[in-house]
């Protein structure tokens, strides 16, 4: 069958014959480097040659490889850590098999913490939920937090201490460091450089302080590829110092987003999304009110999709528009008029009308001037202290990261750097291209990297230390509001990974301490009264009480910053965080790779996003490969046409096109960082587009973007709703009555529980968290790019996105679609073996064991929510990956239909204790995975027979409607229609 596959297989077997224990890795790595293997990995299957469509052969191959990968880990994996960690909900004396344990901890992204509650089954962390007590999680999770579990069990993780690529061990490393630091003693550490990302961890801060105290000439530098320099510099411009700005959307009636995606990419996005959504929930027409969101942005984001009014303009124009707005509001800002005045004036009036109840929020990718102007505007409108508060910077040592990276490169070039310690990060890949970081790095005498994976930077490192996963480590971090969370491990490091604390400690003293001691001793040193109690409580709740940064006063600069040069008229390029793989650190995470990007619905790839107008002008089609020429560099990238993209803006999501990464991420996408220069970190004018005539297959999970005039997403405006509450909801046309049947209408009564789900489209921001949460909870396999392109993606709940209106600035609506659990289920009627039937509580259950795979049910499902195992999608699982599976959910095999079960395992988990206690299941006791993850609480599950239940109340609302209800399927999942709150001045 698969000759290319067999070749490396033979090789591997041959080489492994002699090898054992640690040796395995080396052999495999070597083999993994053979051209044959590379070629095999990156093979593009010829279209149509179907036997290549299935990746089984490839999976088999991985299975053999990774089974050996697993050996080392397995020994440790089910062992509990020696240190005392504290269960969150209940505290069993010891682990009861079959009973999950919940631990509060935190995950960080870009330095900022999000509190989570991790579920552990028999010692295996298998699921992440948000921590309700945590200020920036509020119980919700982002896609990245959900996918963290998969990273933990990634067989491609860095597995051990490597010295020049050869296995070594921790003690050798520590002594080597000791020697190196001895040399530095005399030079007061002048040759030592520490490169970290943004740091909020108090412990790490303290350690670094200690280190720098000991070696005053050493330098600590920070670099995040998606740096928030603009925010910091903007604050410096406006207030003369770096402060953190906090927005209280709960109090904001009018919001203006200046190229800001505060609903999904802001460090406090989860919190902001919740608070923003709370202002949009509409129950009854009387006294209904919604906030109003204006968005000015070059490329469609989730925030823009939520906006009541969206203005697509090039990233360069945003500053001008902001200035014009400031001008209107009486702030001399240099620019009087723009081409968008007719749009701007009503917005200005609206903001003035809601002075003190408005928010103008600038985006991280806008230059400092825009931030400063935004501050001035907010100040002018008197929003300070009301909707906007300030604190000291949450990062203990805020730095201009670009500057600090420049400094590092200069030092390295001059050969001044003897010892470079890199804590995580991948600068060789993501540093601005013009800095030539790699060349500089080659000049460093000793280069140490603590890394989670073997990436482009690792190649240059003399020492590579495997980093422990957050779920394996002790640490601490601050939320965006400053609240401290302690990070506690659920499991001992699978592959003797180390934490940043341990590495830094190894530089300071001999022998290094364990991170548990480091963290604990730091906090002990903070002199909290009743430390043990405090420690326990902190671990128990996952947050340190009252550790949030206190609000502080700021002094606003008198005048607006001077106008920067006008935007060049040529096409511009925009670099943005990828919605699913962020800055590339999640590139080897299969869940995130296969997750459709919110707006484009692309998977497994990034692309140059272009506007329909540009596509028309350049005669480009989706998938056409163009050469992007930017500041003397060029990159070949496929294009993807995105309605709502600013006409002259081309968006590239960073993080793809990795040269050195795991098997999942290999060969995916193009490297946007290779075009990104230090003078155009976020965007830059003067892009040239040259057609190449080539094409590349881009895979999207949604082919069709119009509703074809069908009543699938119902939407309307707030005024219309207040005029007639039934204008679009359930009363729009009468639901088919129960009697519309040949048969006895009430053949089956559901008088026990009657499960149902309600999805509020009005607040859904389309962030995909539900999809990933479902994937993690229900053991949903990843099928790979080629299967997705064949139309075989497996996610049980998908987020559909429909455009409405013109191509250039369409309305974008999201709709999560799980199984509807129809009472008159069309799927059940046609199954020849009764593999899908109704249970007495109205669940449409799928009996995997009985299914013979006729797929008739899927044909007859009008919502197309059923998923089929066309091939053995679970074949390739390594022993380590299997640890991520949820033991409560069957792993489906080939030839079986599957679909959303309303998380039936969670229903039963709640049912058992309830029945033991002889009571009914309480409302809210069952939370489906999608519901738990949803940042805006758009999804509510419960018992329809209990009139007091949240879901029953929601279904009472006039906005409630059935998708395709006219088919008389009587779905148990219903939607609340979407409302927008347009500005009357702009609608006319």
């Amino acid at each position: 069958m698969n000759t290319d596959a067999s070749l490396p297989l033979e090789e591997i077997r041959a080489r492994l014959a002699g090898a054992r224990g640690r040796e395995y890795w080396r052999c495999l790595d070597e083999i993994a480097a053979t051209p044959a293997f590379e070629e095999f990995l990156h093979r593009e299957y010829p279209a149509g040659a179907s036997e290549w469509r299935d990746e089984l052969s490839r999976r088999h191959f991985f299975q053999i490889m990774a089974a050996s990968f697993a050996l080392a880990g397995l020994g440790a994996c089910t062992k509990q850590p020696l240190e005392n960690i504290v269960p969150y909900v209940k505290q069993p004396p010891e682990l009861t098999p079959g009973k999950p344990l919940y631990y509060a901890t935190a995950l960080t992204l870009g330095g900022f913490a999000n509190g989570v509650i991790a579920t552990s089954r028999e010692g295996r962390p298998i699921k992440i939920e948000g921590n309700p007590d945590h200020p920036s999680s509020l119980g919700a999770t982002s896609v990245f937090m959900q996918a963290a579990v998969l990273d933990l069990y990634d067989p491609d993780r860095a597995q051990s201490v490597l010295r020049a690529g050869q296995p070594s061990d921790w003690t050798t490393f520590v002594s080597a460091m000791n020697a190196a630091m001895q040399d530095q003693q005399t030079r007061r550490g002048a040759g030592v450089r520490i490169l970290t990302g943004s740091v909020t961890s108090p412990t790490l801060r303290a350690q670094l302080a200690e280190l720098l105290g000991k070696y005053p000439a050493a330098k600590w530098l920070q670099w995040e590829p998606l740096t928030r320099d603009n925010v910091r510099e903007g604050a410096r411009l406006a207030f003369g110092e770096v402060v953190e700005t906090h927005y209280a959307f709960e109090d904001a009636a009018v919001v203006l987003a200046l190229d800001s995606d505060f609903l999904s990419t802001h460090p406090a996005a989860l919190r902001y999304a919740r608070k923003f959504a709370d202002r949009r929930r509409v129950k009854q027409p009387d006294g209904a009110s919604m906030n109003r969101l204006y968005a000015i942005e070059p490329t469609p984001t989730l925030t823009g999709a939520m906006a009541d009014h969206r203005l697509p303009v090039s990233s360069m124009e945003v500053e001008n528009i902001t200035r014009a707005l400031a001008q209107r509001l009486g702030i001399p800002a240099g620019v009087g008029v723009t081409s968008h005045d007719d749009w701007l004036s009503p917005v200005a009036r609206d903001l003035e009308a809601h002075a003190g109840a408005g928010v103008v929020i600038p985006g991280e990718s806008q230059p400092p001037a825009v931030h400063a102007l935004a501050h001035l505007i907010n100040g002018k409108l008197g929003n300070f202290g009301r909707t906007i508060t300030f604190t000291d910077s949450i990062e203990p040592a805020p730095a201009n990261q670009l500057a600090s990276l420049r400094e590092l490169v200069a030092d390295m070039q001059s050969g001044a750097v003897d010892l470079l310690i890199m804590l995580e990060g991948n600068p060789v890949f993501d540093a601005p291209a013009d800095l030539n970081f790699a060349d500089a790095l080659a000049k460093v005498k000793t280069c140490v990297r603590l890394g989670f994976d073997d990436n482009e930077t690792s190649r240059f490192c003399h020492w590579h230390i495997a980093a422990a996963h957050a779920l394996e480590s002790w640490s601490d971090a601050r939320a965006f509001d400053g609240t401290v969370s302690l990070i506690q491990p659920l499991i001992e490091p699978l592959f003797d990974g180390k934490t940043t604390h341990e590495v830094i400690d190894a530089l300071i003293r001999q022998p290094g301490r364990a991170s548990y001691d480091i963290v604990r001793e730091y906090w002990w040193g903070q002199g909290w009264p009743g430390f043990e109690k405090w420690w326990r409580a902190a671990l128990d709740r996952g947050v340190v009480a009252n550790s949030a940064a206190p609000p502080r006063a700021v002094t606003l600069a008198a005048s607006a910053p001077p106008a920067s040069p006008p935007p060049p008229s040529k096409t511009e390029i925009i670099f943005r965080a990828d919605p699913t793989i962020w800055d590339g650190r999640f590139v080897n995470n299969a869940w995130l790779q296969e997750l459709a990007k919110p707006i484009t619905k692309l998977t497994w790839d990034n692309a140059a996003l272009i506007s329909p107008a540009l596509a028309q002008r350049e005669k480009l089609q989706n998938g056409d490969v163009v050469e992007l020429k930017f500041r003397g560099r060029s990159l070949r990238a496929p294009v993807w046409i995105v309605p709502g993209q600013a006409e002259r803006s081309v968006t590239l999501h960073v993080g793809y096109g990795r040269a050195r990464t795991g098997r999942v991420g290999a060969g995916a996408g193009v490297n946007a960082f290779s075009l990104r220069t230090s003078d155009a970190l976020c965007s830059g004018g003067g892009l040239e587009i040259v057609r190449t005539g080539e094409t590349r297959e881009l895979v999207s999970t949604q082919m069709h973007h119009s509703m074809e005039g069908r009543d699938i997403i119902r939407s309307g405006t707030l005024p219309a709703f207040m005029r007639d509450p039934n204008f679009t909801g359930k009363e729009k046309e009468p639901r088919p009555s129960r009697e519309d049947t040949l048969y006895h209408p009430d053949e089956f009564k559901y008088d026990g529980y009657k499960w149902g789900l309600s999805i509020d489209l009005n607040v859904c921001i389309g962030c995909n968290a539900c999809t990933i949460a479902c994937q993690a909870e229900n053991n949903i396999p990843v099928v790979g790019k080629h299967q997705v392109s064949a139309g075989r993606d497996m996610q049980w709940i998908r987020v559909d996105r429909y455009f409405r209106g013109g191509l250039d600035n369409p309305e974008m609506n999201h709709q999560p679609v799980p199984c509807m659990h129809c009472e008159n289920a069309p799927c059940e009627l046609v199954c020849p073996v009764g593999a899908t039937v109704h249970d007495h509580e109205g669940l449409n259950v799928q009996v995997y064991n009985r299914c013979i795979g006729t797929r008739y049910c899927s044909n007859n499902c009008p919502y197309k929510v059923r998923r089929f195992n066309f091939l053995e999608f679970n074949a390739g699982l390594t022993a380590v990956q299997k640890m991520a599976k949820n033991p409560d959910v069957t792993v489906r095999s080939r030839g079986v239909m599957e679909k959303c079960t309303y998380c039936t395992q969670r229903i039963n988990a709640a049912r058992i204790p309830a029945e033991i206690a002889g009571r009914k299941i309480r409302d809210g006791e069952i939370v489906t995975a999608c519901q738990a993850a949803c940042p805006v609480e758009a999804i509510v599950f419960g018992d329809l027979n209990d009139p007091a239940s949240r879901v029953a109340k929601l279904k009472e609302q006039p906005l409630d409607y059935w998708m395709l209800g006219e088919l008389n399927t009587r779905p148990r999942t219903s939607y609340l229609a979407k409302l927008r709150n347009p500005n009357p001045e702009l609608t006319v």
């Binding site: 139309g791 009764g834 089929f868 088919l967």
Partner: protein, 462 residues
């Protein structure tokens, strides 16, 4: 094919080919002609040629099925939403072809259509083979074919039953019943001829084998009496059966709610389509075969002409079906139905729809011309176009309806893969392989009934 020119045929006052049997045929001549074929030591060279082609494609089928069982149905182009692909298209197509036989034997028998005599044995055999091909697909298309028998009602240790509301279960009963009845019907008619072959066999092995097959038939009046009654009975039973089978197959679609499937016109128009393609397939085989074996005097132009007429009629019914579908889509005012029709004609699979219109509706209209009906080459081509057309019709019904149904976000194209085509070609190979074996080993025209024609020539001219 041999080079013998088509013999001139007498024409009736209306100018149609007159005789069902060439003049001067006697009991012996017909018996000799027909029985000598299975008894011959060597078949004509063309036979080996045809058989080998069929056999090699049959091997391709085995290859495809092996790969299918190893990997799963994912080797095909199917997906969500197009969860049914070629497997179902082929299934319906073959079942349709399998309708001609029983229609000819049963219904034409009841209607005293003597011209069936020349072709009934032949088309009955064709029916069996076509149904055999069709029968493969419900198995192959399963995700887990190794548990196919869960569709059958049997005492299950878990006390489980098939879900009798599912048209797929109806299919199982309908198709298996149809196959059984066709087989019995076929054999009942074959028995006397087997006896004849037995009696004429000189080679002792042939004697033994055909003797066993004939079950000791000795043509006694009592035998003839009961056999004839049973034969009539079976004909009477097969008549509603043949109508029911394709109706049930059409329920697979009509019962579902998919726009383009959920339609009451389906049963009649499926049945008509079935007979349409069935007759086309019979013609596609008969025309070469009668040349190959020189049966022009037994299978006369009149028979061919009548078959052409049947195709013309059923063809018009099918065309009417298409028309009504389009009309109802418009008349219903249902947004999904309307879009379905638009998608059929102008969607991504529009080419298939127009090909269907050309092959199934436009081209067959030439059958109005007697010149075409009595021109072997043209008749053969028209029949071919109908066979292809009917396959395309099923493609349009299955694929085009599924690929864009209710929820636009889920719409996705179906692209057939190599294995889709391989298995289709494979079953065609299997069909012809079996057909060639039949022609080699069994009397392909009913000897006894032909004798009756000899005995009562006036019947033949009716």
């Amino acid at each position: 094919m041999s080079e013998r020119p088509e013999p001139p045929y007498e024409v009736s006052p209306l100018g149609y080919p007159a005789r069902l049997l060439a003049p001067g045929e006697t009991y012996e001549s017909v018996s000799d002609k027909i029985a000598s074929i299975p008894l011959a030591r060597h078949p004509p060279r063309a036979w080996y040629f045809g058989f080998l082609i069929g056999f090699s494609f049959f091997m391709l089928l085995l290859l495809g099925v092996t790969w299918l069982f190893m990997k799963g149905v994912g080797i095909w182009g199917i997906n969500i939403p197009v969860a049914w692909g070629f497997a179902i298209v082929n299934f319906v197509w073959w079942i349709g072809i399998g309708h001609a036989g029983t229609f000819i034997s049963a219904i034409l028998l009841l209607l005293h259509q003597q011209w069936r005599t020349a072709i009934n044995r032949f088309s009955e055999a064709m029916t069996l083979f076509a149904v055999a091909c069709a029968g493969l697909f419900p198995l192959l298309h399963l995700g887990r074919p190794w548990v196919f028998w869960w569709i059958l009602p049997y005492p299950d240790t878990m006390g489980l039953w098939p879900q009798f509301r599912s048209p797929l279960v109806w299919d199982v009963f309908a198709v298996s019943t149809y196959f059984t009845v066709s087989l019995l019907f076929w054999f009942l008619g074959l028995m006397p001829d087997l006896a004849t072959v037995r009696d004429r066999a000189t080679n002792v092995w042939q004697k033994k084998i055909y003797g066993v097959l004939a079950l000791g038939w000795r043509g006694s009046a009592a035998h003839w009496h009961r056999q004839q009654t049973a034969y009539l009975m079976l004909a009477g039973l097969a008549t509603p059966l043949v109508l029911s089978v394709h109706s049930v197959v059409s329920f697979d679609f009509a019962v579902a709610i998919v726009p383009g499937w959920h339609s009451t016109i389906f049963p009649p128009y499926f049945v008509a389509g079935a007979i349409y393609s069935g007759f086309a397939m019979v013609l596609n085989i008969v025309i070469p075969v009668r040349k190959l074996y020189g049966l022009e005097r037994l299978i006369t132009m009149r028979t061919l002409n009548n078959m052409a007429n049947v195709m013309l009629v059923t063809g018009e019914i099918v065309a009417y079906g298409y028309l009504i579908e389009a009309f109802m889509a418009w008349y219903s005012g249902d947004v999904f139905e309307e879009y379905m029709m638009k998608n059929r004609a102008f969607g991504p699979y529009g080419f298939a729809f127009w090909a269907l219109m050309l092959l199934n509706v436009v081209i067959p209209q030439v059958l109005w011309l007697r010149r075409v009906r009595t021109n072997l080459a043209l008749l053969f081509l028209v029949a071919l176009s109908i066979n292809v057309g009917m396959w395309v019709e099923r493609f349009v019904i299955v694929i085009t309806s599924l690929n864009r149904d209710f929820t636009p976000s889920a719409w996705h194209l179906f692209i057939p893969t190599f294995w889709d085509w391989a298995i289709l070609a494979g079953t065609i190979g299997m069909f012809f392989m079996l057909q060639f074996l039949f022609m080699r080993l069994l009397p392909m025209i009913s000897i006894s009934e032909t004798r009756e024609l000899v005995a009562e020539p006036e019947k033949a001219e009716r």
